[in-house]
Each structure stands twice: as structure tokens, then as C-alpha cells.
């Protein structure tokens, strides 16, 4: 069975470490915040200028001046810091954020990522995605392994305009956990009940399959 959105978030959450500053993108990455292990302290960075983002507000807490990078109303935790956009991206570009989790349309064996532009469709912009992929040491891309039409999103070379070049080393799909190294994907874990053969069939880029590929446990 392919992983659910919640299982993908749970799997990513296992990469969190106590004391991490983490930037979570829109969509499945946002759900990772729900699975921070008990007793672990992690602070969420929102690139519009908030470090220590809390949950969505109650009606009483609702405040137009307190939003996240997805423009949703949020709260700030005790101990949060608020700053301007240049400071926010100094943190990101300067490599101070410990983990960045974001979505993508495609990744390839060179660690390239395409996530913002589909030629022929209206381009809304890259927002902070290019800064995030250029600045972070530790990035996890979260996406489906193949499109709805069955086209692989793990390629030999990205077909869409890039968001960043050579910056991705870890990918979680609904089928597998993979690393990118030396011009190939390396299959590290598979979703429960998903065969290595299925993953091989749905991976267009060069894929190295180690002798042991454990199933993820949930």
C-alpha cells in the first residue's frame, strides 16, 4: 500500500532531532508538525518572519497581523521571535535552518529539483522555494512517486524548469524513502506492502537497489 499523507508526515518526523529549527512547506510537509515526538523540542520557521510558529488560533486569538508563509492565520509560541523578510532569508540562505521539508513536481539523479513552473500554465512564482533549496543543508522532498497518469517523477534529468540545482539528497515518496548520491537514487526503505519491483518500475532515473530494503514500520 502506498503511504497516506499522514504516514508520509510521520515518516519525515522521524528525521527530527531535539533542538532543530525546521521550515515546513505547504501541503504534506505542514502535517509533519503534528508528529513531533513527545519530549522533543522543535521550533518551526515560517519564512514571512516567524520563528516559533504555534497552532492555528482560536476565534479569540485570531489576529490579522499574525500569519504564516501560506498566509493562514497562526499563533506564536512562547519563546517565538519575529523579524523582517531579509533576516528570515538570512537564516535560510545562511544555513541556520536544520531541516527543510518541501514538495516538488520532479527530482533527478543529480539532486536537481523542479517545483514551481509548468510551461504553458500560468506561473504564479517561486515564493521562497529557491532560497530554501539553495540555503538548506538538510532537505527532504516529499511527493508522490508518479503522476496520476503513472509518469515517474524521479527522473534522470528534470524536464521542468528548475527550482535549484544539485541541492537534493533525500526524497520521500508515497512508495519509498530514497537518497540521491553519485548520480543515482538509492532505495533505502519501501512503504509497507510495496514491492521493490513496483518501485523500480516507477523510477525513471537510475536506481540502485541494495540487498536489503526494509519496509517502513508504522
Amino acid at each position: 500500500m502506498a503511504l497516506t499523507r499522514e504516514q508520509m508526515a510521520q515518516r519525515v518526523a522521524r528525521e527530527l532531532r531535539d533542538g532543530y529549527y525546521v521550515n515546513l512547506g505547504i501541503g504534506i510537509p505542514t502535517l509533519v508538525a503534528n508528529y513531533v515526538p513527545e519530549g522533543m523540542q522543535v521550533l518551526l520557521q515560517s519564512e514571512n518572519g516567524l520563528l516559533g510558529m504555534g497552532p492555528f488560533p482560536t476565534e479569540a486569538e485570531l489576529d490579522a497581523d499574525m500569519i504564516n508563509a501560506g498566509k493562514q492565520t497562526v499563533t506564536a509560541l512562547p519563546g517565538a521571535a519575529i523579524f523582517d523578510s531579509a533576516d528570515s532569508f538570512a537564516m535560510i540562505r545562511g544555513g541556520h535552518v536544520d531541516l527543510t521539508v518541501l514538495g516538488a513536481f520532479e527530482v533527478d539523479v543529480q539532486g536537481n529539483i523542479a517545483s514551481w513552473m509548468i510551461p504553458g500554465k500560468l506561473v504564479k512564482g517561486m515564493g521562497g522555494a529557491m532560497d530554501l533549496v539553495a540555503g538548506a543543508e538538510n532537505i527532504i522532498v516529499v511527493m508522490t512517486h508518479a503522476s496520476k497518469d503513472g509518469e515517474s517523477k524521479l527522473l534522470e534529468r528534470c524536464s521542468l524548469p528548475l527550482t535549484g540545482a544539485g541541492c537534493i539528497r533525500t526524497v520521500l515518496t508515497d512508495l519509498a524513502w530514497l537518497e540521491i548520491d553519485n548520480g543515482a537514487f538509492i532505495l533505502r526503505e519501501r512503504a509497507p506492502g510495496v514491492s521493490v519491483e513496483e518501485i523500480v518500475a516507477k523510477t525513471a532515473g537510475k536506481l540502485i537497489v541494495p540487498d536489503q530494503v526494509p519496509e517502513m514500520q508504522f
Binding site: 492555528f56 497581523d65 500569519i67 498566509k71 523582517d84 523578510s85 521562497g128 529557491m130
Partner: protein, 232 residues
């Protein structure tokens, strides 16, 4: 307006001198922390062919989106646009030009513009369409692209409180691009919710020191929420 007292008497006075073809830098992120009344005044003045630098371009009928209604914006420099149908329509018809800029690069371009730095190298955008036509340099084995700073004829900024000297503090995440726009305007106009007596603001807590501010006005704000999201 006299000496170091930056207060002006009206919104018309606040944007006196704004002309066709000028570059306007606007603070705000989405609809959060936008200079609503200064935008309304730009609309009222009817100036055209503006280049507007802002992270976003508002929504239909609010924020910078209202400047699209009479086609006052010729070029938009932003990181994420298209939350409004009118924007999309004018972009597709070629009436509106858009220069998409990564969010962190946009913030740094404004900061650099205000800080007297004409250009800077950043890894952001290397190997992407953003790098097209830009100088590439390698430092310590990594590639960087040269990005030019941005300055504006006017900066329009929304603060929370300010004193007569134009020392400004922002409220919560309504800070965002506002202090950076304030730095990079040749004429920086700030509208705030409250003008207080000098001495009331803690000098160590000032976000934008008054030296960056030319004109100051107190206004009332709708503060529309773009995505009202409550705890479930």
C-alpha cells in the same frame, strides 16, 4: 512638515510628487501589513505606468489588486502573484509585465538598495531560469549569481506605532517586507495605526529608525484576512 517632524496632514500630501512611470516599493506579505490607505491614494491620484515592487500583488478588489482595475501598474516585481483574476488577465494580454524574483533575493535587493550596496552574489536561483543573463561566480567551490539592488522613487510602508521623528515599530508578522521597503525608498512614506509622543517608544525596540522615513501619517485600517484558519 518641518525639521524632524515627519507628520503630514493628509494622504494627498503623503504622496505628493508621485508621477507616472515611477517605481513604488510596497511593504506587506499577502494582505498582512500592507499600506492600505496609501494604495488607495495611489489609485485616487490615477498615476499610471508604475513599476511596483512587492512580494505579492494583493487580491481582486483589495491591496495592490485595486491598482490593476485602472491599469496603473505596468510592471510588477514580486515573488508570488496571481491570487487575483484581474492580474492573470492583464498578464496574459501583455498589458502587465512581471519579473518573478525569489522571495529572499527580493528582500535582500531592497535591503541592499537601502544600504548602499549595488549588487550581491547569492546561490539562490543558480541553475534556474532566474539566473538567465546574470553573471555567475564561484566562491569556495559553489556557484553564485549576481543580483542587482532595488531602489524606488517612493516606498509605501505600514507600521503599527511611530513617533513624530518617524521611528517605527511593526506589529507581529505585519513587519515582513516593510522595514526593507522603508530603507530603499528615495521618499519613504509610512502610515501607522497610532502616532505617539517622542519618548513613548523604547529606543532599543525601534524596527525602522526615523532616518529612513520622510513622511508619516496616521490612518485606520481594515486589515482584511486572506486565509482565516482556526484551530479545529
Amino acid at each position: 512638515m518641518s525639521g524632524l517632524d515627519k507628520r503630514v496632514g493628509s494622504y494627498a500630501e503623503a504622496l505628493d510628487g508621485l508621477q507616472d512611470g515611477m517605481t513604488v516599493l510596497a511593504g506587506g506579505f499577502g494582505l498582512c501589513g500592507i499600506p492600505e490607505n496609501l494604495i488607495a491614494e495611489i489609485r485616487r491620484r490615477g498615476v499610471r505606468d508604475l513599476t511596483v515592487v512587492s512580494n505579492n500583488c494583493g487580491v481582486d478588489g483589495f491591496g495592490l489588486g485595486v491598482l490593476l482595475e485602472d491599469r496603473q501598474i505596468r510592471k510588477m516585481i514580486a515573488s508570488y502573484v496571481g491570487e487575483n483574476a484581474l492580474f492573470e488577465q492583464q498578464l496574459l494580454s501583455g498589458e502587465l509585465e512581471v519579473e518573478l524574483t525569489p522571495q529572499g533575493t527580493l528582500a535582500e535587493k531592497l535591503r541592499a538598495g537601502g544600504a548602499g550596496i549595488p549588487a550581491f552574489f547569492t546561490a539562490t536561483g543558480y541553475g534556474t531560469p532566474v539566473a538567465e543573463g546574470k553573471e555567475v561566480r564561484e566562491f569556495d567551490g559553489r556557484h553564485y549569481i549576481l543580483e542587482r539592488a532595488i531602489k524606488g522613487d517612493f516606498a509605501i510602508v505600514k507600521g503599527w506605532k511611530a513617533d513624530h521623528y518617524g521611528n517605527v515599530i511593526y506589529r507581529h508578522t505585519a513587519q515582513n517586507f516593510n522595514p526593507l521597503a522603508a530603507m530603499a525608498g528615495r521618499i519613504t512614506v509610512v502610515e501607522v495605526e497610532e502616532i505617539v509622543e517622542p519618548g513613548e517608544l523604547d529606543p532599543a525596540q525601534i524596527h525602522t529608525p526615523g532616518i529612513y522615513v520622510d513622511r508619516l501619517i496616521q490612518g485606520t485600517f481594515e486589515k482584511r484576512i486572506e486565509k482565516r484558519t482556526l484551530r479545529g
